[in-house]
Subunit: 273 residues, 2 copies
Amino acid sequence: MSSLSSADERPAVIGIVGGVGPFAGLDLQRKILEQTVAARDQDHLPVIAVSWPARIADRTEFLLGQERVNPAQAIVEQLRLLAGAGATLAAIPCNTAHAPAIFDVVVDRLTGRGADFERPPRLLNMIDETAAHLAGRFPSLRTVGVLSTTGTWRTRLYPAALEPRGFRVVVPDETLQLETVHPAIYDPTRGIKATGAPSAWARAGLTRAIAALRDQGAEAIILGCTELPLAFPQRSLDSLPLVDPTLALARALIGAADPERLKPWTEQPEATE
Amino acid sequence: MSSLSSADERPAVIGIVGGVGPFAGLDLQRKILEQTVAARDQDHLPVIAVSWPARIADRTEFLLGQERVNPAQAIVEQLRLLAGAGATLAAIPCNTAHAPAIFDVVVDRLTGRGADFERPPRLLNMIDETAAHLAGRFPSLRTVGVLSTTGTWRTRLYPAALEPRGFRVVVPDETLQLETVHPAIYDPTRGIKATGAPSAWARAGLTRAIAALRDQGAEAIILGCTELPLAFPQRSLDSLPLVDPTLALARALIGAADPERLKPWTEQPEATE
């Protein structure tokens, strides 16, 4: 079964498997709107977003063996719901869900042997889109730092994608990862997933982690968990460029749906609030 | 055909007819998240949001006779898509779409004679929810001002809902409405619909309009177009209370889906960015 072919005459409709986490799903929708050339409501692209987080097990807990159910199953069901509603393109705004143990199962169920989607949406890969965005934006960059959940960190998702492209990848050491970066995302009272609006505590911990990656030679930082751009919406921190996978994914979705509607890239975006 | 009955055992799923406008659809989704008691992704309620604005004709243009197609038709199709995806509750985050010439047609197609929804979602009425929110929050308030699109203004949507409840309603005069308030929403370069992030120009015009309503005796202002809370996210302006119909609708949706998940009301919300 092939993915969306050029013979497909349906209108391009973007489907989003949101809820992983819920605020990150909104952030992707917002970035799709902000990166679209539009002067009125009707100029915006069709988007269907599902946020049904209770059904999707935590991705890091699954990757660390603390949760038995593969979140891939629920992601596939939500992709089926999106396909049924008309989505021709799809994306999952969760970096950790792109670990092979999850993402490869999703892709196999969508388009592999035994797939039972009548018309599977074309599923973009957030990690690949981020790697392409990084390479296009910083062609001479050599060393990149990555902040992420412990699931993404442990499965070395970004090193696996970036090292074959010639990048050197630096990540936090185990203490910094487990005691600072992951809690900034997951702490049940002060973490970004709990508060939506990142707390000063979460931002301070992440700022320390960014400084540590700079000390390891990072010339840019990938905010490799979709909660992290909520804490750092800007394009750089102390003149160190920040790379936002949600933004890269938003631009890739617009480009796939209707390239004429994609705004030119700018390093100096207007303020959004 | 009855709307959602108590015998319905399906999980409560919130459906949003977004895209009217697109940023307002995001604002409703964000307020649902912010008003939900949740410490982790999985605690959030299921939400399906469709934003397919190209299919929905402008509501004010229809009400003013400048557009022949009733936006109700496309709204019904998007409600059908949401129902097919599992939505049991629904809302349209566009005040103007609640004008009887549009909203009554939608309700009739959902649950009236000749309706062909197998299981129609329960559609909340944003104007009624705002009136209830206003009455609950300010029981002794007498005069309220309303800012809105020209479609809502011309059809006197808020006076019709609020005067029977004993409120006096003041609105901008025709010059202020046509030359300041409506353009702040609709101007193709500086209006909120075009920019998403409200421009200083839009905010200044709306601030003048709020001052004019205060001069007419308004003790609170209803931001009666879903683009307006994007310009004034705070709960008051110069100590004049602002009433946000999107927030009232978000809280009503949570209350209808799972009342135990609704945060207590507070006049002093934490900062959200």
